[in-house]
Point group: C3
Chain length 666, copies 3
């Protein structure tokens, strides 16, 4: 399913902040830059609805009319990500209560309590009104509901809704007590009314830990689903008048509070906002794109927001270097984006984001570096047309990313404060990244059978069904790789008794008796057959129960000589267990061995060069990306034509600073 | 106008904390130390007024009587800086609500809500009663209202008062919406009632930033003026009985929440409390004195508080070294003080400041180093008599310090968290300081015409009127120096559209297209014609539009070779723009060039030696100050007589450790 | 008085978290490990009492029955350390209000307001019911009331109770005003109702300081006594049915909020929970054991909790190395423990401590390292039998540890933020520790006469009675050692006027005029007759008034050449004053000199080796402890028999890694 007919190129446009005479100037600039789309109406609720019963679409009509006249594809926002002040004032239930139990009054955005009856009524009604008015438009290509859904609420309405959620999930109070192991610290509940949200006034802890992880985990699920319900409310209200146009909400990478795999099921297409910092590793940016692509099983996504130049909310908002914005745009495309959009098209004159860059800066209609680069990109994208649309990434390695694990691992008190979920996932990702092998970030409930290798580091929380799936996958010939802190708890955060790694013991062929914890600054030698690396953070003490040790601890601790990495032949497959956090050398040795059994080939390229692949009915495309501001030479086995330059390419390449090649393979 | 007849020498005296028999002992010590003044009644509200209707001046009468008998000049406090407990208890509206929305109960000091009707009533009434009783006294030389006004309140009374303030300032809600650009994030207000104070429950951010800087800026102005109104309330209550005695409130240097330039207009004389830490740069202390002198356009100020020896509330409260207290006292005089006063004359026996040193320490009437040094200083000051009173500093360089800019620059989200207003001002100050050239800290609405050079670094917020004044000043032959982050926003914190630096573009003859941001730890080479320095923090990308580049970026970034410092001949004057934060070498090169066109001469002296000048009808006085605890030699072009030793001085000087010379020029 | 007949070996057992079929498996494991005791019913309130009027002991009956059948000694908890949810829900007065004035809802443990009438009623009633049911049991050896009493509450009930407490202590409001020096900052109170708890809404400061230390100090006393009253409530309720069985509450070393010396007077035996971190100095662990022994004047204590292996709530929860748990157990015994108990016997399946290790881990009934080590220890303890019970430590050095000083010193604002009470006590402790000389941690109201040397560093708060006792002690031949920051304030935190160190001036024979403060990173040379060391943190400027200087300041500051350490012959004794924080070299020189006059002999042993002594009617026992994981040789003057191996020992010893010898002297 190709969602769009051509690649969307444009971005957030907020003409309601400007006098109307400016609009025409803007359109001229966008047209010159070969833009073909605009996202509008993202933050305009207070303008559209000045009170409970009045709706005023005059200005939005004008904006739409102008865009239609200019043949723009429209991504239509619903404007519900920031409450109108009158609503906060008259209906305080719409305001959030924070982790410290403090009810807020009116400020910022993403400020609505997801379980506020008032908010749910008026947000859905607004979406409905907008759909009624604009849903029929031919230019409408996508609905953009709310904006960057985020945050938590702990108000009394949420508490009530949480109790209803619990009743539905567990039916009895006894089941809740068992799920949360409330006999610990005598927390036994006799009635739902006794249960309070796990914030600072309850069982939450300001550092992100939880006294009752089962409770906090359920609240995280509840909060994520509450916010997702806000999305569904609006989507359904839209569907009353527009049954077909794709619906999205713009996501934020590895944003913790929202289970995006669950959320993405409710969307037609995933979109996201890519805001790397000046020191974000390239591999991390790639991983985020891959995660977004993974949310809907490899379907193309929208790069809904990126900044044309510097951001404003980082500690140090460096400029994007000449060519870097273009390169980062293609970086997204290389990982699955079918759109290249900016936040924002025109820079705001005042308030919190006035130093966030835009296609049209504060200088207005004047020749700028940003405009030149945007225009170059626009011309290129126009040339590319729909060639790359809906292309897929042919990955044979799947890396599990799971929000339940994200939450549960980080709620756990112990064993090591430096253990962070996304860091651990990225640690494995970057080992594959540096080999330039395609990789998918996948949900825990994905179909594993399409992958040669499944990576599941820190698979801390694991239910029996998934454990069974892993066993079957491995038995059937899959390569399964897991690590320390895996198989520890069930879906309620209760330990799988009988020895670690719980339901993975059999497939891994080991028993982990203990795990030592240490600061990252401390390293333990890890000996492979011929080489060595180091481990840190955690050191599992492993007993072989069928597996073989492929590396053992070196000197320094009492577990010297004991297995640290194991390999187990299981059915037709192989299961690896990595009992520590390996350094780069160790990871390289390990994955050389793991990948040996596959047909996957590592491609080592100069630092800063990345190669990806996408395929569709038009052919196979290789993306060569230079993340660095210096020209690089590479010798690589590729023959084809560069879509950007029409040059034929074969093997020896020179890649310009921040250069990009999109080679259609011959 | 000479406010005092002789230099005040004394300090805060709190005999109400002591049994009366101690008082005579105290007086004897003060007399021996040649003190001639005492500040009394600073914290005694609860003693003076035990309930709503009772006032009891018995003890204050006794204290005043004793001071009069001993011919002391009296600085009379009004005692309103700390609420009586009974008032906090019976009238909770007097208590403040903090940034987090938490209403306080009773504690500390500076604890009154400035908009509390109860507080306003009783504070003015108390001042009135005290004026009625003591306003006629001949010994009374100054009113000292409240103490170290400070803090903010966010209670409902303040919210109401803020809405009235807004109504008065803007008249219509539409004007407010425009001023704050509320179309951003759909913050449009339809009624004043919807506006809430910008604290944590609203649009404030705990790190000091603001989602709506226009709103937060207005609240800062409102809060500052609310507290200033408390001062005016009391001043007016005093004036009913005492129309003439000068009125002051003791200030605190670059204290952020109060706009001291505005505040000083309401005072007859500025006074301040100088509490440098053991590692405060000498240039910073000098700058604070100069700022205090600048508050009333160069008029002498009072050094209301300094500590005779160690402080107590710093992390490390080092002793003042032998001679250092004396040297610091003269340091204040050298920069414009007409009084030398201490906090405190007798050290308290208990509570939060019991380890803050005093003229009479816990040991009581015993020979101590502090007493010896105080006595030496007292004798010297007696000898000096009124010679230095009301002397002015003959500065030809003005450095703009502006609270609107202080607030607005630091509310801004982006571009660089390490950008701090006072640091930037001090960065320019110290370049002049090390040349021993007199400099004034001036208000943005000052008369620029008296200065050869106006320095305006980080003149972020700039209204059209000031911009016009700058143009005129430069056109008429002035030298105007500004920097990156200047001319960006108007008085509402909305961007001056059309290119940076907004209304300074023409006078500076440049257009700034972009500014790169980086941590302080990163340096970019800056090439002048013959020398080089480095820049950091921000790097402006500058296009010349009439100006000349006097320095360009060195290698490392894509803006290599582009202008970083520019000079523009404008009318008869010259405008400089400094597009980065220069290191010391760069500053030296730059200012060598800037000052070349003036008659100002740099005087480089050994590290720790400072020279200042003051002039009055008695003559011209040069102060030679040694900030270090070692003897120093200097060769300097001065001929005259040292007022402290009566020695004739000519050119070659030996300055003792922490030594001071006050040379009346021949 | 020997409290137990044999050493208790066992720990916290929470079978209520497990299905009953597990219990028999557990008992088998405990029996195999030679355990003889179990602590039960520590967190079961919600199970025991499902509502106001129902009590259900069915499960506890079963647990007790099983333990009795297996001849276990029972330590019976009262289960009141965690509120039942129904009580928090129905009676919100049971919940605490925190330092920020935030009332909590339901969560964690140690969550009851100590002054809640509801909590006091139901906690005592529960203890009473349990005593009624189990108080007669022969197997019952100890009552374990609540658990790890801790925290503070600032609710309105506490405010009211505080006012009653104040009325009882001071009688008049005038006395309160005087005690707290409320004339400072005009805090004068006219009625008790005006006094509010000194939290963030009052005179408290988030960094732990206080504007009115007298008030905060009284609140600390009040809070400590309120919690102690909860203990007394339950103890008295127990005594109704069980007049004899010893009663304890498990303490936590140098836990700041509770005055353990006061608390211990209400207990029959002290017990505590030892949880060193991986980098806790050995000397610090020793000091904590000695403090616990000191709480009841040298009486043996219970090691109520230690972890069999890793903890979970440290940042890095390292494993205990093989042999280390055993060594740490004996370390406690070596310092006075008569029991070796674990938290916990079975690891919980879920919630906040699921990664805290246990005798029976998540793996269940399987051979583990922990079980092997526990079993070895069990066999050894069985062999030791009652040989060591009730042995005393023959210390002739007493080191004062005083909670009033702990609180008051740290409430003080100034002179140095790096000054921490426990650090300073430990600084002196470790100098004695490294000499392997027995030392007692003693209360300020102890009988000093049994000691040759009394160490009293930072004896900041000192009433006249104690000062008199110190004078008498010294006069009668004692050696008294005190330091900077001593003798400064009275019991109300008001300064002893007339010169520092207040009432210690005479015995010390000095007057301290001033004290300089500096960061730890700055060092000042200290010259003894032949050697030198360095001082830091504070440097007192001392005038000799009868004392002799035994060390003077070296160069660098103006007090160079002045005395820094003094010695004063006073009566038959000697008083030392140490005017700075000495480094290790300085401490060694100083204590060589101090101890010269005693019969105490320093025994320097290799790093990580510690020797202690205990004596009872069975003989004298020397403990040789190796804190390191490497074998060590030592030559030492000991002849006797190792109780653990029955080997005869004379002088030359090899101590295994983490090895222990308990030598009964011949």
């Amino acid at each position: 399913m190709a969602v769009f007919k051509e690649m969307l190129y444009g971005g957030d446009y907020n003409p309601e902040q400007w006098p109307k005479e400016i609009w025409l100037e803007d359109m001229q600039i966008f047209n010159d830059a070969k833009m073909n789309s605009a996202t509008i109406n993202v933050f305009a609720w207070a303008l559209l609805q000045p009170d409970e019963s009045t709706y005023d679409f005059t200005m939005l009509d004008d904006i739409v009319e102008m865009l239609v006249e200019n043949n723009y594809q429209i991504v239509m926002g619903t404007s519900t990500a920031a409450l109108p002040a009158w609503m906060s004032h008259r209906y305080p239930d719409v305001n959030r209560t924070d982790f410290y139990g403090i009810p807020h009054k009116f400020g910022h955005r993403h400020n609505a309590c997801p379980n506020s009856p008032t908010f749910r009524k008026y947000s859905a009604r607004l979406a409905n009104k907008i759909a009624e008015r604009y849903g029929h438009l031919e230019n409408l290509v996508c609905w953009h509901i709310s904006n960057e859904y985020s945050g938590e609420c702990y108000c009394d309405n949420c508490a009530k809704a949480f109790r209803i959620w619990l009743k539905k999930k567990y039916d009895t109070i006894e089941a809740i007590n068992q799920a949360w192991n409330t006999n610990f610290w005598s927390h036994t509940f006799y009635s739902l009314e006794e249960i309070v949200p796990p914030n600072y006034l309850g069982d939450g802890i300001p550092n992100g830990k939880a006294s009752f992880a089962g409770l906090s985990l359920d609240y995280s699920r509840f909060n994520s689903q509450s916010i997702m319900q806000n999305f569904i409310d609006e989507r359904e209200a839209i569907r009353e008048f527009d049954p077909k146009t794709p619906v999205t909400a713009n996501l934020m990478g590895a944003y913790k509070p929202l289970n995006y795999f669950e959320f993405a099921k409710e969307m037609d297409i995933v979109s996201w906002d890519a805001y790397p910092s000046f020191d974000t590793p390239f591999s991390y940016s790639s991983m985020m794109h891959d995660l977004m692509r993974g949310l809907k099983d490899g379907q193309s996504f929208m790069l809904m927001e990126q900044t044309p130049n510097q951001q404003n909310w980082q500690p140090f908002n460096s400029l994007k270097r000449p060519g870097q914005m273009r390169q980062m745009s293609y970086h997204a495309v290389a990982h699955g984006a079918d759109t290249v959009q900016f936040f924002q098209l025109r820079q705001s004159v005042g308030a919190g984001e006035k130093f966030h860059s835009a296609v049209i800066g504060h200088v207005g209609n004047k020749e700028t570096r940003v405009l030149r680069e945007v225009t170059q990109l626009g011309n290129e994208l126009q040339k590319l047309g729909g060639a790359l649309l809906d292309a897929r990434t042919p990955a044979k390695i799947g890396l599990i990313f799971d929000w339940d694990n994200y939450w549960a691992l980080e709620y756990a008190i112990g064993p090591n404060v430096e253990l962070k979920y996304v860091d651990q996932i990225h640690h494995y990702y970057k080992e594959i990244y540096k080999r330039n092998i395609p990789i998918d970030l996948i949900a825990i409930d994905s179909d594993f059978s399409q992958y040669d290798v499944i990576l599941a580091p820190c698979l801390y929380l694991l239910n029996d069904k998934t454990a069974q799936k892993i066993e079957n996958y491995t038995k059937d010939g899959g390569i399964f790789v897991t690590s320390t802190m895996s198989g520890l708890v069930d879906e309620n955060d209760n330990i799988h008794l009988g020895g670690y790694p719980g339901p993975l013991k059999e497939v891994a062929g080991i028993w982990v008796e203990e795990f030592d914890a240490m600061p990252m600054s401390k390293k333990i030698p890890v000996h492979f057959t011929d080489t060595m690396g180091h481990g840190t953070l955690l050191c599992d003490i492993i007993h072989l129960e069928g597996a073989q040790a492929i590396a053992t601890y070196g000197e320094g601790e009492f577990y010297q000589g004991m297995p640290v990495i194991t390999s187990h032949s299981y059915g037709k497959g192989q299961a690896y267990y990595v009992g520590t956090m390996l350094d780069d050398q160790g990871m390289e040795t390990l994955f050389n061995q793991i990948l040996e059994a596959t047909t996957l080939t590592s491609l080592y390229l100069p630092e800063g060069i990345e190669v990806t692949e996408r395929c569709n009915d038009n052919g196979r495309f290789k993306f060569i990306l230079n993340h660095l501001g210096k020209e690089q030479q590479l010798s690589i086995d590729i023959v084809g034509q560069d879509l950007l330059t029409d040059e034929n390419v074969s093997n020896d390449l020179t890649v310009a600073p921040y250069g990009v090649k999109i080679i259609k393979l011959a």
